[in-house]
Structures are given as C-alpha cells and as structure tokens.
Point group: C2
Chain length 387, copies 2
C-alpha cells in the first residue's frame, strides 16, 4: 500500500500511454521510495556514487528493504569522466552478479551523471529493465530525471551514445537540496531559467521577481548576496517537471518541439567540450549558451534587445556566468558546435527565441553570423566581469 | 527509384506499424542494396568483418555509392569474442568520425555476430539511427536478421546486454550462401528446423522429405552424403522469415509467444557458455538443446516418443550434433542454465513442444527433472556417435 499522499507531496504525470509515469515531489520522499517501488519488482540494484551513497544510500536501501524488496547498492565513480560506455558495461556485470533478472529494476540515486548512466544501464540490461530516478541535485530534479534521455559521452562529445528509455517512476525528495553546494544549485537554476525562457514567461517572471528585484539570502545560497527560497525551489521543480513532461509527452523522440529544450545547449555543449569535461559545469555552460542564443536571436531581429538582456540579467542574478571563459577561441568553439547531435547534413540546428516564453528551431543561420557572434563574445569575455 | 521486383525476389513484410519493414530475398540482392537504401539517408557506415569485407565489401559499397549514398566501411574482429560492449563503443566512435549524423544509417553486412553488434551500435548511436541487415550466412537470413534483437555478450553469458531495435530493411542475397562452409549451412538449418518444430509442421515435413527420406548431394554440402538444394535453401529462408516475422509482429518485446523462438536455446546457451564461446557453434548448441527439450517434453508426457525422435533424426540428417559433447558435466550445465534472461525469480522458463509445430512456455519443470535429463544425456554423450 502506498501511503496517502501528504499535503507536502505534489505529483506530476508524464503522459506516455502505457509508459506513463509519476513524478513525486516533496520533502521526505526518500523514505517513501520502497512503498512506491513495490509494484515494480522484488529485486533492485541502487546505482549511485560514493558521496551520494554516504549521504542517502542507507536510507534508500532501508526504505526498499522495508517494502520487501531485495536491494543492493553499486557505486560508480563521480563526474562526467565516468559517463562512458565502459562504466555501463561494469554496471551491467554488477547487476547480473547481484542476481537481477528481467523482472528486477534499477534505482538511479544521484545527479544527472548517475541518472544518465544508470538509466542507460537499465535500457541495455537484458534488452531493457525498468528503472526509477531518485534525483539528488536540483538539475536532475528540474531536468535530467524526467524525459527518458539516457546515455554516455564519447571522445567526440557529450551524450552521443545512449537510448530513449523512460523511468517507471521519479521520486524527488526536496530535503536533499539542503546538502547541495551553491554551485550545484546555481546550475540547476540555469535549466529552470531555460524552461521559463522557452515555454513559460510566468515562470521566468517569478524567477526575476525573486532573484533580480528582491535578492535576499534564501535557504539555498547562490551568491554571497542572493539565495533561493524553499518555496521558489519547490515551485521551480514542480513547474519544470510539468513543462518538460508536457513537451516529452508530445514529442518523446525529439522529432519536433522537444528540440526546444536544447536552448543554450548547442553553444553549451561546445563550451564544455572545448573547456575539458568537468571544468565548466553543465549549467554554467548552458547559461553562457542561452545568453549567446538570445543575442543571436536579437541580431536576427527575432527577439528584442530588452528581452535578450533580461535573460542575461536573470542568469547573472542567479550567480551564473554569462560570458565566454577567458581565452576562448571562437573558431575552436565554432568547430565544436558541429559535433552536436542536432547537426544534419552539415547544418547547425539552433534553438532561438521568438519572444520570452516561445522558442523555435532554425537551421538557416549563416555560419558567418555564428562566427561573428562568437568572435564578438570572445572580445568581451569573462575577464570583464559577470553580467 | 527501386527497380521493379524481379521474379526471383520474394518480399516478406514484418508488420510493426510505422516501424514495419521489408525482407527482400533473392539472388543478386547485394547489387540492389543501394537502390533499396536510397530512401533511408544520404550517408551510411557499412559494418562488417575482414573476411566478409573481402568477399562482398566492394560490391556493397559500389551499390550504395551508385545510388548517391556517401558510404564507408568499418571492420570489426570476427567471432563471438568480438561481441562485446567495447566493440560497440569503438564502432560508435568510428561512425561519428566517419561523419554520420542522426539522419544517416548503418549497414550490417555479415552473419549473426555482425548483425547483433552493428544493430546495437545503431540502437545506441545518437540514441538510435536506422540500420539495414544484409545477412551473409544462412543463420542470419533465417533468424537473426529479422526481429530486432540486437546486443552483446557479457562475462556471465550471451546476449545479456542489448536493445530491441528493428532494422529498416533486410536484404538477403541468396547467392552469398554459395560462399559458406558446410558447418555454417548446417548451423542455419538448426534454426529452420526450430521454426518447423515450434510453428509449422509443413516446413518440418518438407525438411524431413528432402534431408531424411531422400538425402542427396545438393548444392550446399552438409555432410559427405547429404546436401541442401538451392530450392530448399530459398524456401527455408522465405518461410522462416514469414514465420518469425509474424511472431515478432505479434509480440515484439517477448512478453508472450516470441519466447517460443527460444526453443532449444536455454539448453543451447548453457552449452555454449560452458564449452567456451566459439567452440560449439550456436546452431550446433541449439540442435543439442532442441533434442534435450524434446526429450524433456516426452518425459512430461507432452510430446510422443515418435515426434521427439523425429526432431533428433532430422537434426542428425542435417549433419548437426544431437548429443552432449564428451565430458559434459550435467551439474555445471544445469547451473549455467540459470544465467538465461528468461529466468525470473530463480525459476527456469523453458520452451517445450505440445506436438510438432506447436510450442509452449512452461515454468513449472522441477529442477530435479532437468538434472535427471542432463545426467542421463551425459551418460550417452557424443562419444557414442551422432544421432
């Protein structure tokens, strides 16, 4: 029996027919994990990393075992460097050795890297077993745990190998946000800002109200002067899951509108690839990427200067970088953009804004316009200060 | 434009909604590959091994290029040992380096190993690109190229990691069968016998007529005294694709009747695992496995002694082994059977025959009955001679 939902838990449904699933959002969700998973199977492997295992591994295991689920934990190394096919191979071997069968399931306990790798492991093991996302970072809660994109990096770039494999359940315990370093919270906010910018001007404006207009030291410290309140964190998670869930439900395999979610990401992935994996965190790269994409839209006369400026201002208010790292080479960045999965027949597909809250995909931006933008951005790089 | 089908080409459709695809079967299909692939994309990577590349690589490339497709070849090592996740990783890197994008496709030119590995590569690359099966062995034509099971082996057993990923086209050139060693042809016949045994008594009886009742040196040599005529080869490929295609269309992800296709395979995979990969060829292990499964059905009173005997007789007539290899340890074999993907909650799921042409899945065979069977089979092992 699943306990009656408390007033504190919100549930968002991702509507994908027989593969539909619930996203539970609330404090204390970690201790309800076992009850919620009981319908999924009798044996599970929890995949996590050592740092997360230390904080939450025992609680997750205890909850699963109390529900009568035979559960074990397997750790993987932390960080983007572990996000590779060899890790998936090791985890599959570990899952088989732990006695998982086709009716067992995997629990991804961690941030985006754990979720992507554990999800891809679930997609491959016995040609597919079920899995549960238990995101422990803000970016995983607002973005990567929902939507079924799983995968690993290659020497050519990020997320180039993987599968669309939906979780059977997402369980986001808001309490765990308290354990996050400020930088992690800021990176999560980058994706929330993205959701506002491409889909929901109301979300965007609420972020502006709380972060730009009346910055105050909130529960989660973002910068020495700015914080994120618990209420805004909760709203951000829930609204992001609703928005992303609706996009995924309409276009699971990214034939159309799901590509909007890549706003800021073609520039961002290039920045991550050039900077060396792990140097610039994903959310930071996306922040810079969103500012670049907004400015590109502005040059094309699609979004006004004021709205483009609001994106830059909000990212800065969230404590995120908005300028290229010092020493960035525009030509190297430009070349790196072509490793993007969205490139087809040698043409960049970019997500730009028509206005705040409305995105569209374009594939007719002349190369020279992108290069100009990058050259100019490199000229006013981060050494000038943030904002 | 695809040339008008010649009288020599038969086409079987695997009906999977928007993922439906055609299986073209006929002589000279290799030279029509390009025309048939033109609708799939403008760039392709042909994955094969050195031996197959030497025989057919240039013809495949020429056909693709004549159709305006930008194609390259990448070889992988031969044999079961190469069927591992690291090979998939290398092939993904090669595909990216060759400039493939999401709209490109992969061509699997080879036997079952190439098809499984190249298909899994296609399933993973950019979270899934299209692929074409060009089977060059009888077993690939009658079995592995149809149905979308792709994957690799792990240290724990065969095909434990992979994906269901359907090809967009299968092109089986019957001419290439002429290049196969007799052992390869025999292994293909094991799967044809299987299709007859579980689904189509008419197919089974035609095989009996040509192989048991009037064995003659045919076009493809099976044993010093028995051959396979070109007409029977063609009929075997077409009927197998029809039968398997219908099963896959009804149950793509093996929730029910698709499991019938594993007749002989739970014993067979255990034999392969215990013998060391590559020692006993897959078709040979399946042949022994089918005889064991038939005998188990007989003990349970489900299939008569005469029909069980016909399976053994037909396998022997095809030149396939029907007894356990000398020195087989029944306990080791029994333990290996539990590494099967179909095991759930520690119980074996076995495919047995109700009668010739009709299979069913059972999960209530007592362990002791399986052990008894293996012990007895080990007592009259291959040293007694075949048949």
């Amino acid at each position: 029996m699943i306990a009656a939902p408390t007033l504190d838990t919100s549930t968002v449904t991702v509507a994908l027919g027989e593969r539909s699933y619930a996203v539970h959002i609330g404090p204390g969700e970690l201790d309800r994990l076992g009850e919620r998973c009981r319908v999924l199977g009798r044996r599970a492997l929890v995949i996590t990393n050592a740092a997360v295992a230390k904080l939450y591994g025992q609680r997750a295991l205890a909850s699963l075992r109390e529900a009568g689920i035979d559960a074990a934990v397997e750790t993987m190394p932390p960080g983007e460097r572990a996000k590779k096919l060899a890790t998936v191979g090791k985890l599959c071997e570990a899952a088989i050795a732990a006695g998982l069968d086709r009716g067992s399931f995997i629990v991804a306990l961690g941030g985006g890297v754990v979720g992507d790798v554990a999800g891809f492991t679930a997609a491959c093991l016995y040609r597919g077993v079920r899995f549960v996302q238990v995101p422990t970072t803000l970016v995983a809660m607002v973005d990567s745990s929902v939507g079924g994109k799983t995968g690993v990096n290659t020497s050519h770039g990020k997320n180039l190998v993987g599968a669309f494999w939906q979780p059977s359940l997402v369980s986001a315990d808001l309490d765990v946000l308290a354990s996050l370093p400020a930088r992690e919270v800021r990176c999560g906010l980058a994706e929330v800002i993205k959701h506002g910018a491409i889909l929901d001007v109301e979300l965007f404006e609420r972020l502006e109200t709380e972060l730009v207009q009346r910055p105050s030291a909130g529960v989660y410290r973002l910068t020495p002067r700015v914080g994120l309140s618990a209420a805004l964190a909760r709203y951000s998670v829930q609204r992001s899951c609703e928005l992303k869930g609706a996009v995924v439900a309409a276009d699971e395999r990214e034939a159309g509108q799901r590509a909007w979610l890549n706003f800021g990401h073609t520039f961002g992935h290039a920045l991550e690839a050039v900077g060396g994996l792990g140097k610039l965190h994903h959310g930071e790269a996306v922040s810079i990427g969103m500012v670049l994409a907004a400015r590109l839209g502005q040059r094309r006369g699609e979004i006004g200067e004021r709205d483009a400026g609001r994106i830059e201002q909000l990212c800065a208010a969230a404590g995120l970088p908005t300028r290229l790292p010092a020493g960035s080479d525009p030509e190297v960045l430009f070349a790196a953009m072509f490793k993007d999965k969205k490139v087809r027949d040698g043409r960049l597909k970019l997500v730009l804004l028509e206005t705040l809250g409305k995105a569209r995909v374009v594939d007719d931006v002349p190369d020279e316009q992108v290069r100009d933008l990058l050259r100019e951005a490199a000229g006013r790089e981060a050494s000038d200060g943030i904002g």
